[in-house]
């Protein structure tokens, strides 16, 4: 880690240097020091044991309404980097029509630390590898015909130091832990995967090694192995219109793609139109648009304990906060940064984040959570005559306005006459239109079924950035959903 005293002195000096330059209205400087460890085992062998260290800084300069940014890892040339950022801001003025208006904020001096019970970097590498090997062994013991077993663990710690020319100085020590297991079974022309606790390397949180222990990888490994083999023999999921209950393992991506991205104010303003796309919410009025049924209550909550999108302050220096996005089905708030909020005359709600020192902060999801409802899980199932319970995402796609989506899941459990029959189907796909789908929700399970999942790879921006965000939800029921594509 950096020497905080020396760093603070240098940052203060560089910010004073920038502010003294001709035309400079505001500047901020962010230092990111990131260390990662990642473990991967496959078929009882170590596939990789990697670690990385990454240290650098980025300087953002606003001059006469234009922004310029420069990132570097050369700490001996901070003034030069500041000059580069200023030159970029001045070049930007050539095409400028609408000077950037930053929404107001307070001067803050603070330190934030992810609450951690067990520092994951103090757990020996041997213990981490042993956990993955044991999980693999249990999967293979329960299902010897498996073609592949696999496990991963990932740990990340970051010291983020942010300061601005107004006098703010914020240090954040952020810790993340994540991991998961999966099994693959193969016959000629067919491959099936079963994962735990979710696909795409499992689950992630701002937490310590206690999060990995609580996952109970070993307790779930035999079931994962067995279900993977059962899927290989299962029938293809039928196509048609069905009622569904969707598990949090899939709802996390449903929320991410069809709520999290459309509510980003930069997309609404067209900032992502040339790349990731826009939002169908660009023509709606907050407070009046019905996004879903009265059962749908969604918040953007950067303060939620353990969420992968939980932090103390965003990279504009705005405190983390909880924002009501959809209340009883009605859309209320976008998520925003200082520049996007300034463009529409509102206050930033603190979701500007960069994925490292070389990138600018842009609007990113914090934790976009579907709040728990009032139903027992069995009540949701009991309300379905003919349908499926879908678990764990396998594939995703949505259009550039975030309306037309299609998801594939690992497994569909049959529901007949209000009961899970025990029969499973492979290759379930469902598709829909965002507000129609959320409008068809007629029940969300209660708090005891609510689960938090982290998404560590949300792509957006140019140059590309990968954000870490979270999504909590409980199983929810949806009526009349299009399942499968074989009948088209």
């Amino acid at each position: 880690m950096l020497d905080l005293n020396q760093l603070q002195e240098k940052i203060t000096q560089v910010l004073a240097f920038i502010k003294a330059q001709d035309g400079v209205e505001y500047a901020d400087l962010r230092v990111n020091s990131i260390e990662t460890e990642s473990y991967s085992t496959e078929n009882m062998k170590v596939q990789s044991l990697n670690a990385s260290k990454n240290l650098g800084y980025g300087i953002r300069v606003y001059a006469q309404g234009s922004m310029g940014f420069a990132g570097s890892q050369d700490f001996t040339a901070m003034e030069e980097t500041a000059k580069t950022a200023l030159a970029i801001a001045k070049a930007t003025q050539l095409t400028q029509k609408n000077p950037v208006k930053l929404s107001p904020k307070k001067v803050v001096k603070d330190h934030y630390q992810t609450p951690v019970e067990i520092d994951p970097f103090t757990i020996s590498k041997e213990e981490k590898l042993a956990l993955l090997f044991e999980a693999e062994r249990l999967m293979r013991e329960a299902a010897p015909e498996l073609f592949r077993t696999h496990g991963t663990l990932t740990f990340r710690k970051e010291r983020k130091t942010w300061a601005d020319s107004d006098g703010s100085y914020i240090v954040q020590d952020l810790v993340e832990s994540g991991g998961g297991i999966d099994a693959v079974a193969i016959t000629r022309g067919e491959m099936q995967t079963r994962s735990y606790p979710n696909s795409s390397r499992g689950n992630f949180a701002t937490a310590g090694f206690e999060f990995i222990k609580a996952m109970d990888l070993l307790g779930n490994a035999p079931r994962v192995g067995r279900e993977c083999l059962e899927l290989l023999k299962a029938e293809e999921c039928p196509s048609g219109i069905f009622d569904l209950v969707i598990a949090p393992t899939q709802l996390t991506l449903q929320i991410h793609e069809s709520v999290g991205h459309p509510i980003e104010l930069d997309r609404v303003l067209g900032y992502e139109a040339g790349y990731a796309g826009t939002s169908f919410l660009d023509s709606v009025e907050p407070g009046k648009f019905r996004y879903g049924s009265e059962h749908v209550n969604i918040v953007a909550d950067a303060t939620a304990p353990g969420g992968l999108g939980t932090y103390g302050y965003d990279d504009d220096g705005i405190p983390a906060q909880r924002v009501e996005v959809i209340t009883n089905g009605i859309f209320h708030n976008f998520i925003s940064s200082r520049d996007t909020a300034g463009a529409v005359g509102s206050l930033s709600n603190g979701t500007a984040r960069a994925d490292g020192w070389g990138r600018i902060p842009i609007v990113r999801m914090s934790n976009i959570n579907l709040l728990a409802g009032k139903y027992a899980f069995d009540e949701l199932i009991a309300g379905i005559e003919n349908g499926f319970y879908l678990d764990i995402n396998r594939s995703w796609s949505i259009d550039d306005r975030r309306l037309n989506f299609q998801f594939a899941c690992e497994i569909a459990y049959e529901i007949k006459n209000g009961k899970l029959t025990g029969k499973i189907y492979k290759n379930p796909i469902y598709t829909g239109i965002t507000p129609v789908f959320w409008g068809s929700c007629d029940g969300v399970a209660s708090q005891e079924h609510w689960r938090f999942f982290g998404t560590p790879n949300c792509g957006k921006g140019e140059p590309s950035q990968s954000a870490h965000c979270g999504h909590g939800s409980a199983p929810a029921r949806f009526r009349g959903v299009k399942v499968g594509v074989a009948d088209v």
Binding site: K45, L49, A70, E190, M191, S395
Partner: protein, 448 residues
């Protein structure tokens, strides 16, 4: 960023700290300026100078990797020491891959001083401003113009050194009217004579102007004419199937199909780093000289891409397609894909078509089932109905879900004109029976 001599100093230092071990060191250095455009003005304008070093230590059938951007002597020494220490934690692996030892020196140098001088932060803004002057209300421009300079080196304890450098310009442009009718075009260039800003503005604008008052079509099977960007979207995903390791692991759709006719006989695809249409590196991430691959010859799936590890498992030799970066398990994939042309231009194919849907590009593609090569995605930024040889109407965007093993068998025509897209050189294609499985209706969105 760093030059060849400086990069080799880092490599030699790391190898020195790893004395006594088999070791491989890679250094990647880049500087990129990117001007992002939204609502016909530059709204984000950034620069980043980044260098990282990755060291891989190999001993007793074990491989350990660390990457760092802390390039002081202490930083490099710490990375090497940690990689060595990690060896003790690893169980014995399979056979250790030997380090590449010949030829001793190779380099690929493609840096253009002319391009570098032209694309300063100021001239980049001027070029954008000139282009924007051709866009008038109700149209607006979105996209990005970037200039990137890069230099990479690798070396190993067997004594080889590899170096490459280059620079390139990338421009992507979306033109949109106030009702959401969009048009898209892009350009990538590694020499000044390949830069065509005005041409890119003209194509995107013409598409946006044609993309008005879209009709709505029902899902079903349609004949499609895919422009090169759309073909590249499909083939880019399909090229993963030619990873020799995936085929050997039975996870590729080409498992048990090599040597068989899998695609239309009209389709021939090679991977050739020497081609002027798709210039690449002379060596891969392990330092192996790249070989040319005939991936598909008249519909027959032939060569696969291998690195050392996947080749060893498959009982063959590496083709020089290993990825770079930390570790030596990046897998192997085709890097410079060239599709053989047909006889008619894309315009002639359109002119000779009674009825089809013309696709500019696809958005957010993902495999639904990679083993069966089933992909899904949605049309974007120019989707048109072709009737009696002419583009007659814009069509509201639709979702496709289709197996590439079927679509690439249903190729009716391939265009003679091709477009460079990244490291690929791709024609347009006319494909029959292409399945669109979803639409976005006017009525169910609350829009319009």
């Amino acid at each position: 960023m760093y030059n060849k001599d400086q990069i080799y100093v880092f490599i030699n230092k790391a190898l020195g700290f790893a004395a006594g071990y088999q070791a491989q060191v890679a250094v990647s250095s880049s500087a990129e300026g990117l001007s992002r455009i939204a609502n016909s003005e530059i709204h984000q304008n950034v620069f980043e100078d980044r260098t990282s070093l990755a060291v891989t230590i190999i001993a007793s059938h074990k491989t350990s990797s660390i990457s760092t951007n802390v390039l002081s002597d202490e930083g490099i020494q710490a990375a090497v020491a940690e990689a060595i220490a990690n060896l003790a934690l690893l169980p014995d692996g399979e056979e250790t891959m030997p380090l590449v030892s010949e030829p001793k020196e190779m380099e690929t140098r493609r840096f253009s001083q002319e391009l570098h001088d032209k694309f300063t932060v100021e001239t980049r803004a001027q070029l954008v401003a000139e282009g924007l002057s051709s866009i008038t209300e109700p149209y607006k421009a979105f996209g990005q113009l970037s200039y990137r300079r890069s230099a990479s080196g690798m070396g190993n304890s067997a004594g080889i050194r590899r170096y490459s450098d280059g620079n390139s310009v990338r421009f992507t442009l979306l033109i949109s009217d106030d009702l959401g009718g969009t048009g898209y075009a892009n350009m990538s260039a590694d020499s000044l004579d390949a830069v065509d800003m005005a041409g890119t503005f003209a194509i995107a604008k013409a598409k946006a102007e044609a993309n008005k008052n879209p009709i709505e079509l029902e899902p079903g099977a349609y004949t499609v004419i895919l422009e090169p960007l759309a073909v590249n979207n499909l083939l880019g995903t399909m090229m993963r199937a030619f990873n020799g390791g995936m085929v050997n692991n039975k996870m590729s759709p080409l498992t048990d199909k090599i040597g068989e006719k899998v695609f239309s006989e009209k389709l021939t695809v090679v991977d050739d780093w020497t081609s002027p249409y798709s210039p690449g590196l002379a060596f891969d991430g392990e330092g192996t000289p790249r070989t040319k691959l005939t991936l598909i010859e008249q519909g027959v799936a032939k060569d696969l891409a291998y690195d050392q590890a996947s080749a060893k498992k498959a009982g063959t030799t590496t083709t020089g397609h290993a990825g770079g970066g930390a570790g030596r398990r990046g897998g192997a994939s085709p890097a410079n894909v060239i599709v053989s042309p047909g006889e008619k231009t894309l315009a002639e194919i359109i002119a000779g078509t009674e009825k089809a849907l013309l696709v500019t590009r696809f958005h957010y593609m993902n495999p639904v089932n990679m083993r069966q090569a089933i992909l899904t995605g949605i049309t974007r930024d120019g989707f048109f109905l072709v009737e009696n040889g002419k583009i007659t109407k814009a069509v509201r965007n639709m979702r496709f879900t289709e197996s590439m093993l079927i679509a690439m068998n249903n190729i009716e025509e391939i265009s003679s004109d091709r477009k460079r897209t990244g490291a690929s050189f791709i024609p347009g294609m006319k494909i029959n029976g292409f399945h669109f499985t979803g639409k976005t209706s006017f009525s169910d969105t609350g829009e319009e």
